[in-house]
Amino acid sequence: MSTAPPLPQNISASTVANTTSLLRILALGLISAAAIASRLFAVINFESIIHEFDPWFNYRATRVLAAKGFYEFWNWFDPTAWYPLGRVVGGTVYPGLMATSGVIYNFLHYFNLPVDIRNVCVLLAPGFSALTAWATYMFTKEMKDPSAGLLAAAFIGIVPGYISRSVAGSYDNEAIAIFLLMFTFYLWIAALKQGSALFGTLAAVFYFYMVAAWGGYAFITNMIPIHALVLLLMGRYSGRLYVAYCSWYAIGTLSSMQVPFVGFQPVRTSEHMGALGVFGLLQIVAFATLVRSHVSSKQFQNLTAISVVSLGLLGALAFIVMTYKGWIAPWTGRFYSLWDTGYAKKYIPIIASVSEHQPTAWPSFFMDLQFLIFLFPAGVVMCFRDLRDEHVFVIIYALVASYFAGVMVRLMLTLTPVVCVSAAVALSSLLDTYVDVKEPSLPDATEADKKPASSGAVGSHAGTSAAAVASSTISDIFNAAKSTKTSKPKGIWGTDARIVILLNAIGMLVFFVFHCTWVTSSAYSSPSVVLASQNPDGSQHIIDDYREAYYWLRMNTPQDAVVMSWWDYGYQIAGMADRGTLVDNNTWNNTHIATVGKAMSSTEEVAYPILRKHDVDYVLVIFGGLLGYSGDDINKFLWMVRIAQGVWPDEIQEPNYFTPQGEYRVDDRASDSMKNSLMYKMSYYRFSELYGGGNALDRVRNQHIPKVGPTLDYLEEAFTTENWIVRIYKVRKEDPLGRDLKTANAFAQGKKRKRGRVGSRRRAIV
């Protein structure tokens, strides 16, 4: 057999096997290192800090777990959240993340490694990304061969679509969930391939872990049944499928019900009915197969027809009745918004107000996946070429995930793994074909082409057959293009042709690495608690207003003080300031949030009773006007108005906050509702004085603030941070003389009372 460059002979098979195995382990080790290292930008550029909003809650819960033990955590009732309602934390969280950190923390401490719980939390996501790379390797290995697996592992290790949710400090459920997702899928495929109850059980165990870790477990709950169903419809029912699915479903469902937050949902909500239905269907099919082997085919056909129709009718009827009776919960709003992107905006503004629930913009696909998005369809097509059971899985996964990724930005995360797998399959087929040094045989030896060839760079033996199949695929296309189906030999001739293609492929990979590094460092590594800017000399300047305010609250306010803020900052206040909040990022009570929205968008007189009834001591607003920080509360204000309007349509109306021309303004042309709203007043209180009577410019909205700023009667300024980003106001107590606070203030300032209005003003506010 001729090869383009000469190959060394006389190397024993075991040497090759050992070397490839060593190389594979080395490659996986390096991939893990790269995956971890590229997620550390946030730690190096800033510090070891928990990012954003939700992670602060997870971190706080983990601290409780680490400090007080699992049972205390399990029974934890947090009276400070959702004041005065409180929150049963143990029953309303997915505890998988905290439990994982707690186990790691206790493990390290058992070996006398006093690692701070914060560092465990910060570095959990990078650590698990290495595991994800390994799980993806195992998964892709089942699809094609180890070399494709290594490529997939490398892709998932550094692809921004996954990094966006797993940088150091991004201590959220997704940090471990993607590993669990991929590993459960791998175990499912392994169970299905071997018909192994052991792997099925393992899949169930990891499914349980996934249920305990992330609400997105419903994705697995539906993916596996769909896969099983499609296999059934394709007539691929087998004992292996039955064993794998039943062991997974039975054990997985029972164990998932042990998570308090999930409880009886697996048998009562619509999202889980698919899995149950497929489980039932499999029993019927298995029974039918059994019957078929005992009765004649004519009888069997009748039997099948009757039973299928009746069972189908019965099942559908039962489902409808149970839904109608309320035994099965109907689809939730969040679920509807997956099908109709306009649904949330119309009916549940609170879901729509979250930026990560918006539909994905096209550029973000390229930003998050770069050239993988081009290889992705090719990989899916490759799966069709060799349609084994596991390939069906990838195809379904690709279809479903693509749709969801288009609907919601955050679901890009579930698309990323399958893109990496498909792209790796495609790219590895390409590399297999072109790295393979074997020259095509002469026409008389065409048959030799079908023989297994030694696979290229990695040279693994397990993948040779697949590689040969793939290479013949490429050659097919190659030949089809020539449109001459002669007996001309198929394949690549010479070294130069190989080098051109390979250089191109390597170039794409190199660009991919640069792109990933750049996106990670510039877009996904900001903690958002800390803002960075540059000094005139180019050095980094940290804007730390959030923590300044939170720490002030923590140190200098009474322990039981209640802080009202928009729900975005609830978890941060609880985590960093350790004070009670009215609403937080666990947006379970829309009315409570609307109450806060109403208080913020009403006048002081209307808001004051609300504040007092909720025992609010401090009100916290985010104001970016001085610095040009656009994520401030005035920009979020319309959502507050909308959410409040949803509950009190008579009192709060969105149009009132616009100018008659329909503009959203904060300068002297702002509408009266706007100018008198608590939010406006708190944001711009004494702002113009900072400019000493000059033109006070709001740098976010580029509008000039009126010279005479708003006055406050019911609140007083308590603290404002260095760059005015966080402003905290104290709610004044009722006047001891029973006057209303406006009159009391006017009296204190020595203003003369207007005649005739005394009586109406004397009323004490409860």
């Binding site: 070996f111 071997q194 800390v530 730390d544 720490y551 960093m576 900072l690 300024e717 603290f719 404002t720």
Partner: protein, 494 residues
């Protein structure tokens, strides 16, 4: 009363047994001059006794301090004027029926009849001032009140005594004019010139530590003065010093709770006002925007964080490590800026730590084979008092023959075991507890210990053993086949 005993215990060596009070006739005070330096948290009092022996071989001189002063005093030292070595002081009970306490000073050499000597008593009082008015708005000034007693008590007859009270600014708002002093002076009993208020001179004061004298003449005097610097208190200081021989490193970490003990902020904090004030450079004296701390030379890896993460607003200038025995060692300067300006009554907690070369603070004594390490009790935060301090010194794992010398007696100290970083038997941990530390207490604790050579290798051996056993286990597992029956290789296709 408990507190009092605590205070006395702190001040004096516990071992010193009470000695019988010396006769009141053995000495005479030619003059007593007391100088009080008014401060915020700290008040420095220097009292000079010009004494004259009336008996032969007079060796014990007795100083009497009122109870209130003992309670406030956190540091006390008696020296012969012009000499470095402090004299031994011991507590010797209280004069009959009075609320004051006697301290016996043992002179170096007995004095002959008629011989004179100048004794200097230096004390530092903490928590002796209080803000008045108790609340001040952001732009207002800060004024404090300080109270003391008019006469310096002494069991001996005093020819002349006076008390000078110095303030840092000449704006003394008020001071008490003493009464019933006609027996001792015919002139003005109190005079003020500039920033100094002088009580006395009072002539021919009889033995004053008697109950009769105290009841008749002793009286409190109070000064109300402007103070232009913040009144800082460290409510709690926890210092941990960890010595590592492998890294030739000493890590010192301070957990500090800082409190502004000046007048409480009246009303609320206005950033606008604060920015205006600092823009025009006239910040109120009771606002602490920044604290400057002097750290040792040659430090590295300095960190400054609080409960929610790194504080990025500080500045550090590190001085290079100096050669041993060199004079005028520069210190590194840390400009520590809290997250927010600390207004009156506000708190702030933070953690400050650094690594320093072990060679700068340790010595090896080849004769005894012992290491001697010095760990400073505290790092001074200018003008502050440390209410509660806990200093723990963590020695290397396996250190034996641990011995220590504290520069002044602690409230309590104990030796325990601290387990960290892959330790197998843990490290010796010495903990000292102190109260009311001042700038006079920034002295080192000396710890000596021996580390056998085997202790150095304990950790690498332990880690190597664990790893090796893991690998061995993996090797065995790879080579043992536990499957019950062989199954055929799974088919690739359905």
């Amino acid at each position: 009363m408990l507190r009092l005993w605590d205070a006395i215990f702190c001040l004096l060596l516990a071992s010193a047994a009470p000695v019988l009070s010396a006769s009141t006739r053995s000495f005479e005070n030619s003059a007593i001059v007391r100088t009080i330096d008014l401060g915020g948290s700290l008040v420095h009092v220097t009292t000079t006794f010009a004494i004259k022996a009336l008996e032969k071989d007079a060796k014990e001189y007795t100083i009497t301090l009122p109870e209130d002063e003992i309670l406030n005093t956190s540091w006390l030292e008696v020296k012969v004027k012009g000499k470095q070595q402090p004299l031994t002081v011991s507590y010797s009970g209280s004069p009959a029926g009075s609320k004051s306490y006697n301290l016996d000073v043992i002179l170096e050499e007995p004095l002959d009849v008629g011989a004179t000597l100048n004794l200097v008593l230096e004390t530092v009082q903490t928590h002796a001032t209080r803000p008045w008015p108790e609340k001040a708005a952001q732009g207002e000034e800060q004024s404090l009140k300080y109270q003391t007693f008019l006469f310096v008590l002494s069991p001996y007859k005093t020819n002349v005594q006076r008390t000078k009270v110095k303030s840092s600014s000449p704006r003394i708002i008020s001071y008490t004019t003493p009464e019933r002093v006609e027996d001792f002076t015919l002139e003005n009993p109190v005079t003020k010139s500039g920033a100094t208020v002088t009580y006395g001179p009072y002539n021919n004061v009889p033995s004053s530590s008697t109950q009769a004298f105290v009841e008749k003449y002793q009286q409190p005097v109070e000064l109300h003065y402007n103070y232009d610097y913040p009144v800082l208190q460290v409510l709690k200081l926890r210092r941990a010093a960890e010595i590592s021989h492998w890294g030739a490193n000493i890590n010192i970490q301070d957990d500090i709770t800082l409190h502004n003990a000046g007048p409480e902020l009246n009303g609320h904090f206005s950033r606008l006002e604060h920015q205006t004030q600092s823009f025009y450079g006239r910040g109120a004296p009771h606002v602490v925007p920044m604290v400057t701390i002097h750290l040792p030379a040659g430090i590295r890896n300095t960190y400054y964080y609080d409960q929610i993460g790194n504080v990025s607003t500080s500045r550090l200038r590190v001085a290079p490590s100096a050669a041993r025995g060199q004079k005028n060692v520069q210190s590194s300067v840390l400009e520590l800026k809290p997250r927010y300006p600390i207004m009156g009554g506000w708190n702030y907690t933070y953690t400050l730590g650094w690594d320093a070369p072990l060679g700068d603070s340790a010595n090896y004594d080849a004769k005894t084979g012992k290491y001697i390490v010095s760990v400073p009790v505290m790092t001074e935060i200018p003008g502050s008092v440390v209410n509660d301090a806990e200093i723990s010194i963590i020695l290397p794992e396996g250190a034996i023959d641990v011995d220590y010398v504290a520069p002044f007696p602690s409230v309590s100290n104990e030796v325990s075991t601290h387990v960290t970083y892959l330790d197998t038997i843990g490290r010796p941990l010495i903990t000292f507890k102190y109260k009311n530390l001042t700038n006079r207490h920034t002295k080192p604790i000396y710890v000596s210990y021996r580390v056998p050579i085997s202790a150095h290798f304990r950790k690498p051996l332990a880690v190597a053993t664990v790893l090796l056993s893991l690998f061995t286990f993996a090797m065995v597992v790879r080579r043992v086949d536990l499957t019950i029956h062989k199954t055929a290789a799974p088919t690739k296709k359905m």
